[in-house]
Amino acid sequence: MSTERIAKLKKNYIDIKPSICVERAIAFTKSHKSTEGEAMILRRAKAFKEVCKQIPVTIFEDELIVGTPGIYKRSGFVCPEFSWQWVEKEMDDFGKRSQDPYLIGKEQKEILTKDIFPYWRGKSLEEAFLSRIPEKTKKIAVDTGIVDNDSKWRSAVGEITPDYQDIIFKKGFGGVRKEAEEKLANLEPITGENIDKINFYKSMVESCEGIIILSKRYSEEARKMADREKDNKRKEELLKIAEVCNNIPENPPLTFYEAIQTVWFVQLGSVLSENSLALNLGRFDQYMYPFYEKDLINNCITEEVAQELIEALWLKLSEWVWAISKNTAQYFAGYNSFQNLTVGGRKRDGGDGTNPISYMALKATQNIKTHQPGLSVRIHSDCPQEFLLAVCDLIREGTGFPAVHNDRIGSQMLLAVGLSPEDARDWSNCGCVVPHFRKIGEWTSAVNINLAAALEYALNNGKSRITGEQMGLLQAEGQNFDSIEDVKGAVYKQLANLIKHAVVSTVVAQQIHTEMVPRPFLSTLVGGCMEKGVDLSRGGALYNVGPVLTGIGVADVANSLIAIKTLVFDEKKVTIDELNKALDRNWEGYGDLRKAALESPKYGNDIDEVDYLAVEISDFYNREIKKYKDYFGSFFNSAFMGISNYIPTGSVIGATPDGRYAKSPLTEGVSPHAGTDLTSPTAVMRSAAKINHDIHTGGTLLNIKLSPELLQTDKSLVNLASLIRAYFELGAFHVQFNVISTETLREAQLNPEEYKDLLVRVAGYSTQFVNLSREVQDAIIERTTYESI
C-alpha cells in the first residue's frame, strides 16, 4: 500500500487530462532570436538556459519531488525547432483525436500562431528533412506506413541513458561545468576542430548553468512557500525541498532524497532540452542503493520513506507528456514517453546485483500502477528465485510490467556492437526492449520497416494493393514464380529495396541533426562526450552504435509464405494469379480459399516448417541491414520490437496470403499473429526462441497474454517463473505478459470512467487501456487468451 500522500497525488494525476503548455516554446524562441549567427550548439545551449530561467516554477500540493516542464500538472509542450507544421495543422483537433488527445487553450494557440510559428518557418528540422530527402525515398518513407522514421525528423531523438555512476552522482553539474571550463582554458581557436571543441565546451558550461539555475529557482520557491505555510509538517517538508534543491544537482547528492531529486532534475532538464521519448533511467537499483544503505546506517531514512520517494518519482515520470503528431501517436500510442528503468541483473564483475531497491522498484509499480517508468528486469541463471517470484507477482497484477529480459543475451548483443565485456554486463534498457548503456550514442528506434509491404510488392509487381500506386520494384523481365524459392527471392529483393530507403532516410536525418539540433544538455549526461569534446549528435559518446531498423510483421510474412507454399506449390489448390485476385478482392468470393489459407500452419505453434521461415526472413533482414553503415561509420542494427507500430503498418497493406484481411493489424515483434497461436505458451516461446535473438541487437519482443485465473496460486507463480527461465535458456531475449481477462477489457470499453487506471501492455510498454483508441483496444482484446482446460 502507498502512503496517503501518494494515493492522493495519484488520484489527482489520473483525473487530470494532459494540456499543451507553450512556456518552453516562448523562452526557447526568444533566445534563438537573440543568437542568430552563433554556432548552433551554443544557440541551443543558451536557449536551454533561457528556458531554465524563464519557465514558471511550480510546486504542486503535497509534492516531495519537485519540478515540472509546464504550468500544468500534466503538461505536454511543443518544440518548434523540430517541427511546428503538424502542430499548426492539427492543434484545432488536439482535443478530438482518438489517440492521445491534449487540451489546448485559445490563448496558447494564439501565441503559437502569432509569435512562435512565424519565426520557425523554414528553420525547423522537419522542413530541412523534407527538402533534402531524395524524391524516390520520400515517396516510400514519408507518411506511408511502409518505411517510417518520422519520429527522427518531426521530433527529437531521446534514446539516451544518463551516466549517474561516473558523471552526475560523482561530479554534479557543478563538477561537469568545472571540467568543461578546464578544457576551455587549454584550447585555442587555431584549428577548425578546436573551434568546434570550444563551442562544445562552452555549450556544456551553459547547459550546466541552466539546470543549476532551475534547481535554485525551485529551492527559492520552496523557501517562499514555507514562509507562507501554516501547516507545520508541510512547512518542514518545503524547507527540506529548499535545502535539497539548493545542493543538487550542482553538487553530487549526499542522501537518498537528494539522489532521487537529482534523477528527476536530470529527466526534467532532458525533457526541456528536446521533448523526446526514451529518456531512460538506467540501472536505478545499482546507482540508488549506495545512498539507501548509507542513509540506513546513518539512521536518516526508513524503508517507508524511501518507498514513498520512489513512488513520488514514478508519478513525476508519468505526469509529463511527450506531445506528438497524430501519425506518430499511432506508432507510439498511450501518452508513452518510454522512460525505461532497469532493475536486477549482474554487476560489472559478473556477480548478482539484486538489492533492496530492486524489490522496492517492483513494489512501487505494484502500488501505484502508473504507466511510467517502463519497468524492466534482467533475469540471469543466478538471479535469486525470490526476485523472480516478486517479478511474477507483479506480472500477476496485470499491469504488463515488468518487461522481463534475458541478462545474458542483452550482454551478448552489446558485445556484438563493440562494448567491452565489463560495460556489456552493465547494460540497461532503452525505450522499449533495446539493450543500452550509459556511454552509448544510438538511434535505438530509427526506422520502422513494413515487412508485409515487401511481400505485397513481390506478389503485385511492386504495386500497393490498396492504392494501386507503384511503391516497390517492378518485377524483373521474365520472372516467374515456379517454386516457393522464386517467391522468397522476390520478397527479399523488395525487402532489400525498403532497407535501402530506410538507410537513406536515416543518414539524411543524421546529417541534418548534426547541423541543426546538437544536444548540449544531453551531452553532459552521456559518457564519452566530455572526453572527446564532441556533441552527442556528432558521435561524441564513447560507443557509437548504429541506428536500429525495426522490422514489423515477421510472423505475417512467414505465415503467408507457408500458405503460398502449401496452397500454390504443394497442393496446387490455386495459382499465384488466382491467389492475387483473391487478395485484390480482399477474399470476397474466395471464402473456401481463405479458409484453407487460415488452416495452413501458423508461426507460434512450434511447427518447424513455418517457424524456420520466420528465422530465414529475420536472418536475411539482419544480413541485408549489416551491409550498411551510418553517418558515423557504425553498422546498422536489426530489431523486431513492437511499439503500437503493427496497427498503422497493417492499415496500408492489402489482404495477405495467410488469410488476413486488408488493412487489419500486422504482428508485433517476434510474437505470433493475434489469435493464431493456439497450441500453448510453451509452443509460442519455442517458436519465438527459434529466431536468432542475439544477432538482432536492437532488441526482440514477445508478448504473451495470460488470463489471471492461471496465476492465482503460489504454485502457478512458481510455474510462471520456470516458464521464463526456460524461455531464456532457449536463448530468447525478452518476454512480457498481459494478465487480464477479455471480459475486463470489454467492460472497460463500455465504462472507461471506471477503468481509468487499468494498465495493459500495448507492446513494448504499458499504458492506461482507456487512453488507447478503439482500434488498439480491439487489437489487444483479440490477442489469444490461454485458458487451462
Binding site: 512450434d606 510453451t682 509452443a683 516461446m685 492461471l710 510455474n719 526456460a726 487451462s788
Partner: protein, 253 residues
Amino acid sequence: MKASKQNPNKNIKGYVFQTQRWSLHDGDGIRTSIFLGGCPLRCSWCHNPESWSRNSTETVSVEEVIKTIKRDEVFYRASGGGVTFSGGEPTYQTEFLRGLVKSCMLLGINTAIETSGFFNWKSNKDIFQMLDFVFVDIKHMDSKIHKKYTGVGNKLILENITKISDLGKTIIIRIPLILGVNDDDENIDKTSRFILENLDIEGVEILPYHNLGEYKYKELGLDTQYQFAEPAKERIEEIKDRIKSHSINIIDY
C-alpha cells in the same frame, strides 16, 4: 547409444485423442498431458466420453508421441514438470503405454499417470515401477454402487491401489465428487479409513463434478443415463474437512 538404452517399443502404435502442452493441473511443474483413447469403465459422469472408444482417432507411434513430448523438455527441467498420461484409461493400451513410459524414463523425463486403477496387475506392474507419480481414483467404497455408475466393481481397483502403494510410488487419491452418489459421510469415512489402513499417499484431491462435458454426449449421440448437479462450495469444504479430520492431506492441483 548402447543397445540396452534403446527402447525396443518405439514403433508400437496406439491411440491418442488429445495432447495438451502447458498442462498445469496434472502433477508438478509444467507438463504435457497425453490422453490415450479407450476405457473399460463407463462412468455416468464422465466428461470425456469421446475417450471411451479408442478407435475414434488415428494411430500414432511411440516415437511420434515422444517427439511431441520432447518439444517442451526445457520447460520440464526448469519447472520440475514432465508428462502425464491420462485417458480414457491409459493402461487400456498396455503395450503403447509401456513404450511411452519407458522412452520417457530413458530420457529422464518425469512421468505421471491418471488411472482408474482398473487393469490387470500382472501385465502392468512393470509400467508402474517405471512411473514417478500416480493419480488414481476411488470412486466409491461400495462395489455394487460402483458397478451401477461405472459398469465395474471396485475390488480389482482397491487391490491395485494397494499394490501401487506397496511399490513406494508417490500417490494422490482422487475422488470425483458426485452429489447423491459418493458424497455421503459414510462413503467419505470409509474411503478415508481404507486409505489409512492400506496406503501411503501424498494426499487426496477432490474433483467436484462439473457439467462442462454434457454437450459431448449429445454430439456423440450417447444417452445420459443419470443427471448430476454440481456440488455446492460449502459441501465441498465440509467434505474436505471431514477427510482432513482423519489426518489425511487435501491437495489441490
